[in-house]
Symmetry: C2
Subunit: 246 residues, 2 copies
């Protein structure tokens, strides 16, 4: 059981609009998921609208398998998640996308196969669909405004799976947390330098002036400047110009 | 500096389609973000297409402020992120959405104000926009297929911010990791029980039969069954029926 299992299968249950199937394929491929399964699509298969929308992700559709029902679609899997927003009578463990994909990664390492069910656009998964699943994924949306569409729900799930892979960048900048100069202070500092340097003929030749100015502004805003730094740098500039006037 | 700062401002820089502005408002509100700023929108402001698309998230648009340029839009902020996919000549710290929102939460706790820039649909942010920012956010998309649209980019950022709040559910199920029954084995077990119970008149009255069957199937799939459990439960059923035949 030590061989790495496949990436999770994304199972679209009775999807309606071909456009949404194509958008789901794009969402998957954005985060490297390529195993799509489609259960009883309303408009048959293949679906030209899905192909048109998928664009560069058409390969995901070409490789998709079509199934008559949910049980058939996930028959080879070891664990099935059902994505659903509504609270239900069915009592199942409820996972956040984060916890679900963490557990999926763990199962994958154990060589187990995972599928994730996504319901039809309007109605979502029915109780009979959820009954097939081992657990539920609920995205922690704003209870006062929950309006994720199918492709967005697939996107967030695929993002979570990808986020938890080891090769994703997690750089954090260390910064002083107090007395940092505000953006407007840094911007005024950049203005001050740009204006005085312009007057001094620094931005030469003219064809390169735009790029030089951008580079300089970028340098200021990249720096973790404190208010004192900014005051000092204004002072430096004034002082340099004052000396020049002698 | 101990008062909690506001949620991050979402700054749409020179957005083109009103529909995408509305979709961004929906994406924000899905994860509780309500502070939108719009820089030089192509089609003016207010934008009827944006309002139509925003639907229940229209309040986000009503409260949005409009600005002539990026520096004006983020002038009151202490820290600015620029979202951009492309590698650039400008050297800035690059954050994953996760690390960026972790740092945003930290700055918020210190009472600091954070803004996040999102570029126009086709071209993304220009170098001059990025130059205003302190750091870059890059979503870890598939290098072979990167096709996030504006609202999706806002959605992932808002999701990350919300995910890292303390009140989000992070339940993880504990499960045996070896010898777990597959979905098809559990499904066959459910079939077996359903069929025999049906024959025995268990699902009565008929109006409640559907709900009872769903409930039973749900129970099976909720259980962390091993292969041995499944074999045993098949045996239990067979044994019970055998006894009845005596």
């Amino acid at each position: 059981m030590s061989e790495l299992g496949p990436d999770p299968a994304i199972v679209l249950v009775r999807p309606q609009m071909g456009q949404n199937i194509g958008a789901a394929a794009r969402a998957m491929l954005n985060f490297g998921l390529e195993r799509m399964r489609v259960v009883d699509p309303r408009d048959g298969w293949p679906n030209p609208d899905a192909v048109a929308m998928a664009s560069g992700a058409g390969g995901v559709l070409d490789a998709a398998t079509v199934h008559a029902n949910v049980a058939d679609a996930v028959g080879d899997c070891d664990f099935v998640f059902a994505t659903t927003a509504r609270s239900r009578e069915l009592t199942k463990p409820i996972f956040s996308p984060e916890a679900a994909m963490e557990y999926t990664r763990q199962m994958q390492r154990d060589g187990r196969k995972v599928a994730i069910l996504f319901g039809p656009e309007r109605t979502g998964l029915e109780n009979d669909d959820v009954a097939v699943a081992n657990a539920i994924i609920t995205v922690p949306v704003n209870p006062k405004f929950a309006s994720l569409n199918l492709a967005q729900c697939v996107l967030l799930t695929a993002y979570e799976f990808r986020r938890q892979s080891a090769d994703v960048l997690h750089e954090v900048l260390s910064m002083p947390t107090t007395d940092t100069a505000s953006v407007i202070e840094v911007d005024k500092l950049a203005d001050h330098y740009e204006q005085r340097l312009d007057e001094s003929g620094f931005f030469f030749p003219e064809t390169k002036a735009g790029g030089m100015k951008t580079h300089l502004r970028n340098m200021w805003s990249r720096m973790p400047l404190t208010r004192q730094d900014v005051q000092m740098l204004h002072g430096v500039l004034r002082q340099l110009l004052r000396k020049k006037d002698l």
